[in-house]
Amino acid sequence: MTTKQWRTLNRVLWTVSLLIAAVPFVFPFLWMLSSGFKSASEIFGQPSLIPTVWHWENFVEVFQYQPFARQYFNSVYIALSVTGLTLIIASLAGYALARLRFAGAGLLMLFLVSALMVPEEVTIVPNFFLIRWMGLTDTHLPLILLPVFGPHGVMATFLMRQYFVALPKELEEAGRMDGLTTLGVWWKIALPMSRPALAAVAIITFLFSWNLFLEPLVFLSSLELFTLPLALSNFTDPYGAPLWHLQLAATSLAVLPILAVYIIAQRQIVESFAMSGVKG
């Protein structure tokens, strides 16, 4: 066998192995998509990945059963707000912790990181009292403020700080020589060079906000204000049993923005890696 044939065989074997390894991850996703098109009885009938009858009307019914469009919009704008605010605040705070010399910077970082070790379930009760005292229950503000300023925001700040610390200082000094202020250096030099970190933080934050369940459950009571995770658990019959065909159709719709965010951010990460390097 020639070297070329060996390489081809090697590639084929790797591809087949990886495809097999991917099955446990992809199959539930395909099952969800397929079941979204089935009737409730077919889901519990003879298992099949292809529906015998395609029930497109499931996707219409999802919007009639409860204000799903409004709930979808809630999730989108909350996740976008949380992501945008987190990117701005975490990158500013991370830059300050990485580059500004001020008394107690190390201690502050230690204090912030230690906050990451407290599970959100522990803080949900005091947070609830705080939010109620502020008069913000049954609004979306706690769902935006808590992720931005809570442990997740700290995690994002920590990630950004670690990235900024590794950026070559000379580039920022060149910016200062060119007349930029500290804020200008952050905006025009540090941020454009931190696209991989920003993309990673954006993905993590969007996913975090999108999947948030405990906080909406605690803080929201109006159906119109529900976010998708709450809405999905609300597709039930009068006895509280899940309406699987509607839940799975709705879940299929719910994953679309995540895929979009991942595809956009992934391109950013790859492009940014190609751009890295100060000197050759």
Binding site: P168, E170, A174, M177, G179, L180, M193, M275
Partner: protein, 338 residues
């Protein structure tokens, strides 16, 4: 064009003093090179001139204006960094025009100035490339171009050639010298390479442990070093230093007196294999390193002293051979020990 004055400049990081009182005058259009071993404070001094480091005490004047508290961009200086510090997310054109854009110049003027600098540095075909698509030498030229476009009064170079290979370094050195001739701006250049210092400088400033050891033209420093440190730092291979008592008797026969407490310096290139008549030292060759044009001889002259001798030509003495070494009296340096 602008002069620089440093009056008792000091810099401390916490309790560590890295610049310990520097007084220096740099004239209009002068090419001044700071040299010294690693950690001597030469880059820190340059960064203080640029404004990237604060001055702990003392006064810094650029063009007669005290600039201790002036922002880097408002000092009229431009800096070329060791790592070039080109913005990786901008192409060559935008890298060069970045500072002008920040200063709010009109697009047409930015384009004109970038074009002019690109022509001077032969960067025209590279303007749309990104730094990652350039070779080391091209990046260095872009870094210089970025400094030129701002029409600074003073150029500051922080070891700009240290990342280049030997051949390119020689080429870029010549380009920088030509640039200085053409622009005639004041330039301050930091290097640890004394060949770069000798070839480029109008004036060399030798630094050690945050203080100036000597200031002078390359010729001054080579011919009249102020002390053993400067004598050994300038010149390659470095100057041989022998205890005064060791050679006093032989030198007095040649009419050279060695006062007590002094040492004697002899450059390897000034020593020659001589007849017994004019010899000041006798020794035995312990190593001969062939360098092409000649050889570098390591000669044991007794009492544990080994000196270097540059021997020209192809017929160097063999290993173990006893030789006599002579030197012209004007090439003997009587120095204060470091």
């Amino acid at each position: 064009m602008t002069s620089l004055s440093l009056h008792n400049i000091k810099k401390a990081f916490g309790k560590t003093e890295v610049i310990r009182g520097v007084d220096l005058e740099i004239d209009d259009g002068e090419f001044v090179v700071f040299v010294g071993p690693s950690g001597c404070g030469k880059s820190t001094l340059l960064r203080m001139i640029s404004g990237l480091e604060d001055v702990t005490s003392g006064d810094l004047f650029i063009g007669g204006r005290r600039v201790n508290e002036v922002q880097p961009a408002k000092r009229g200086v431009a800096m070329v960094f060791q790592s070039y510090a080109l913005y990786p997310h901008l192409n060559v054109r935008d890298n060069m025009g970045f500072g002008l854009k920040v200063r709010g110049l009109k697009a047409a003027e930015i384009a004109a100035r970038v074009g002019e600098a690109a022509e001077t540095l032969q960067l025209g075909p590279l303007l749309d490339r990104f730094p990652r698509e350039l070779s080391g030498g091209q990046r260095q030229r872009v870094a210089i171009g970025r400094a030129i476009v701002g029409n600074p009064d003073v150029f500051l170079f922080d070891e700009p050639l240290s990342n280049l290979d030997a051949e390119l370094r020689v080429h870029m050195r010549a380009e920088i010298a030509a640039l200085h001739k053409r622009l005639a701006n004041t330039m301050v250049y930091v290097t640890h390479d004394q060949i770069e210092a000798m070839t480029l400088a109008d004036k060399i400033v030798v630094l050690r442990a945050g203080q100036i050891e000597q200031v002078g033209t390359p010729r001054d420093l080579y011919n009249n070093p102020a002390n053993v440190f400067v004598a050994q730092f300038i010149g390659s291979p470095k100057m041989n230093i022998l205890p005064g008592a060791f050679v006093a008797e032989r030198l007095s026969a040649a009419g050279i007196g060695v006062p007590d407490g002094k040492v004697v310096g002899m450059r390897p290139e000034h020593l020659h294999v001589a007849g017994e008549g004019d010899a000041v030292l006798n020794g035995r060759v312990v190593l001969a390193e062939y360098t092409g044009a000649g050889s570098l001889l390591h000669v044991d002259v007794g009492e544990g002293e080994t000196i270097l001798v540059t021997h020209e030509g192809q017929n160097e003495p063999a290993f173990g051979e006893a030789i006599a070494l002579g030197i012209r009296p004007e090439n003997v340096h009587i120095l204060t020990p470091a």
